[in-house]
């Protein structure tokens, strides 16, 4: 097990494209950290620097406190799973997994048994003698995972390993990646642009934008306590509303035709200043217009999008334009143009978390 620290990584590609801009990240021993961000945010570059396939212009990569940037990729003792299929086409699944051990001149019996064990671990005990072209995409990535683990690397690196697979296999395989990671307790860095993937399997998520870590935190912190507008809008769907601070001490803002309590620290915003507030669609409640006993903002249904268990309802109301997630069986009774009333429970409206606190 190893602790990995990325210290002030900077990388600029030819043509002046900045891939990484002072990236900082600490990964504790045995921790599973995802680098999440849109394409071009530098997440893959960061992983490739850790693996030794790219050299940063500045900064350090420390593994257990030792800078590894001087070492070639072949001597860093890391296991990597690539986005595109990277199995050696001339070797069977077992030979692929045994390859790192063959390079290390381990005895044949050891190679055999370790390769067989690992293929069993990834659920391919019966496919050991298949060639890559005889395996499905998901199976190939399982073999790639087994191969990445064969030489007992200090760190496991995964570069969008599931992005080429279909949705069902993706969900199944990501759970297995997590199960195996927990079983082995191996320090893991996982690159993905899929927020659901990142939130579901990570101990912590680092949201990257333009080469910087915008926020690093547990999946729940990232989702519920975003610190920057980018994180708020990139992770999940969010209604962003313009509000004016009424009382910082009481934590109230006026938003459209309402005055509401905000969850979050307004201490840096004097009364009367503008502040962006956020509201998740699942925190918006729609009630029938007659339910006047609650502090409801009247509005009209603008759009309906069926998403399976929930239906996303676009509403024009006194707070502005919002989307609300409503259980689909409830939404069946709604039509575009119907009058509805919008209720926001106190505390559901959030400001960005203070960058200093958590």
């Amino acid at each position: 097990m190893a602790r990995v620290e990325l210290r002030g990584l900077r990388k600029r590609f030819g043509g002046g494209v900045v891939a990484l801009d002072h990236l900082q990240l600490d990964v504790a021993s045995g921790e599973f950290v995802s680098l999440l961000g849109p394409s071009g945010c530098g997440k893959t570059t960061a992983l490739r620097i850790v693996a030794g396939f790219e050299t940063p212009d500045e900064g350090e990569v420390l593994v257990d406190g030792v800078d590894v940037l001087g070492l070639p990729a072949s001597r860093r003792n890391m296991g990597m799973v690539f986005q595109s299929y990277s199995l050696f086409p001339n070797m069977t699944a077992k030979a692929n997994v045994a390859y790192p051990l063959r390079i290390r001149r381990r005895p044949r019996a050891e190679r055999e048994s370790r390769a067989t064990d690992l293929l069993g671990l990834v659920g391919l005990a019966r496919q050991v003698d298949r060639y890559p072209h005889q395996l499905s995409g998901g199976q190939q990535q399982r073999v790639a995972l087994a191969r990445a683990l064969a030489h007992e690397p200090a760190v496991l690196l995964l570069d969008e390993p599931l992005s080429a697979l279909d949705a069902k296999v993706r969900v199944q395989l990501r759970e297995e990646v997590r199960r195996i990671q927990l079983e082995l307790g191996i320090t893991t860095i996982y690159v993905t642009h899929d927020q659901e993937e990142a939130l579901s399997i990570s101990d912590r998520v680092a949201v990257l934008s333009e080469g910087r870590a915008e926020q690093v935190g547990t999946p729940s912190e990232i989702y519920n306590r975003p610190r920057t507008p980018f994180v708020a809008s990139f992770v999940g769907t969010v209604n962003q509303l313009d509000a004016v601070v009424v009382s910082a001490a009481e934590g109230t803002v006026s938003c459209g035709d309402r005055v509401m309590t905000v969850d979050g620290d307004l201490s840096e915003h004097p009364a009367g200043s503008e502040v962006a507030v956020y509201l998740r669609p699942e925190d918006v409640e729609l009630v029938s217009e007659g339910a006047a006993d609650r502090d409801a903002s009247p509005g009209k249904v603008r759009s309906l999008t069926f998403l399976g268990p929930v239906t996303r309802v676009g509403v024009d109301c006194g707070l502005g334009q919002l989307v609300a997630d409503v259980a689909s069986d409830v939404a069946l009774r709604l039509g575009v143009g119907d009058p509805v009333a919008v209720v926001v429970e106190p505390g559901r409206l959030r400001t960005l978390a203070n960058p200093q606190g958590t």
Binding site: A51, G52, F53, P72, A73, S74, R75, N77, M78, G79, M80, F82, S84, Y85, S86, L87, F88, P89, N90, M91, T92, K94, A95, Y99, P100, R102, I103, R104, R108, R111, E112, D129, A144, R147, A148, A150, H151
Partner: protein, 281 residues
């Protein structure tokens, strides 16, 4: 050949199915026969001629073949050509496989340059090449006087074929990722080349080697100018005196060259099976 290709184009056959269904087979047969005749007629004539003529009032039969095998120069010139062909293949592979690998992996900007260089032997006629090479090679007496000098010249001639074949083979595999995966597993560049790249380039290497053998076995101009008694030179000299014997010799040479290529193919295929078994272990 062009007509063959056109008649096979699916669009053409699909569009006029009812009409072409009756007519096409005739045209197919015609063009296939025409193309086959182009290759087969000369070979049949050659074989016929090798049995032709009269010896002491009798029909020749295998006389010319017997004459060929009785001539000690036949064996020596043939083995010289085989030896040169094998050396050329080995030298070409040793030089070009690592070069093509390195250019694809680390110096992709040099690819257009190599593309250009690799076709130069096509552009420069052999006679021009040799006129330029003779004064260059003459000072190196230790090699100039030995037939091995031909190895180096044939490597140049064969380069377009082997390099192009390797280039296509390298484009077909996901070289960058495979090399990175191998490095990540702890493999050096060398072990990546030997254990990962070469096994995946096997068919490209074998294909290129076939053509290299064909070139080295059949090259006449240069070996004749440098006065080495290679097999093509020997055939030519025999043809000057007894044309029937030369025909018999040409038939034998065809069979031997085919045999050599089949042997090369089997060696290549056998090697692959061994590699796969070894890899499985």
């Amino acid at each position: 050949m062009a007509a063959l290709t056109t008649s096979r184009t699916p669009g053409v056959t699909d569009r006029r199915r009812p009409a072409t269904r009756r007519r096409l087979p005739v045209w197919h047969a015609f063009w296939i026969l025409a193309a086959a005749a182009y290759f087969i007629v000369p070979i049949v004539s050659l074989v016929q001629f090798s049995f032709g003529g009269r010896v002491d009032g009798h029909s020749a039969g295998f006389h010319w073949y017997a004459t060929v095998f009785d001539d000690p120069n036949f064996g020596s010139s043939f083995w010289l050509s085989v030896q040169i062909a094998i050396e050329t293949v080995v030298l070409s592979i040793v030089l070009l496989v690592p070069t093509a690998f390195w250019i694809h992996l680390r110096l992709p900007r040099l690819r257009p340059v190599m593309d250009f260089v690799s076709v130069l032997p096509f552009v420069v006629p052999p006679i021009v090449l040799i006129v330029g090479l003779i004064p260059f090679l003459q000072p190196f007496t230790f090699i100039y006087s030995r037939p091995e000098v031909l190895d180096f010249i044939y490597v140049v001639f064969a380069m377009p074929f082997l390099y192009r074949s390797l280039d296509a083979g390298l484009r077909a595999i996901n070289l960058q990722t495979l090399a990175e995966a191998s490095a990540n597993c702890g493999g050096s560049t060398w072990s990546t080349l030997i254990r990962v790249v070469v096994p995946n380039l096997r068919s490209a290497i074998i294909g290129g080697s076939f053509l290299t053998v064909a070139i080295a076995m059949g090259e006449f101009t240069i070996s004749s100018l440098l006065s080495f008694n290679t097999f093509p030179v020997y055939i030519f000299n025999i043809g000057q005196s007894t044309s029937n014997e030369a025909a018999a010799l040409a038939v034998i040479s065809l069979l031997l060259t085919w045999g050599l290529m089949i042997a090369l193919y089997l060696v290549g295929r056998g090697g692959r099976t061994t590699a796969q078994i070894a890899a499985t272990r």
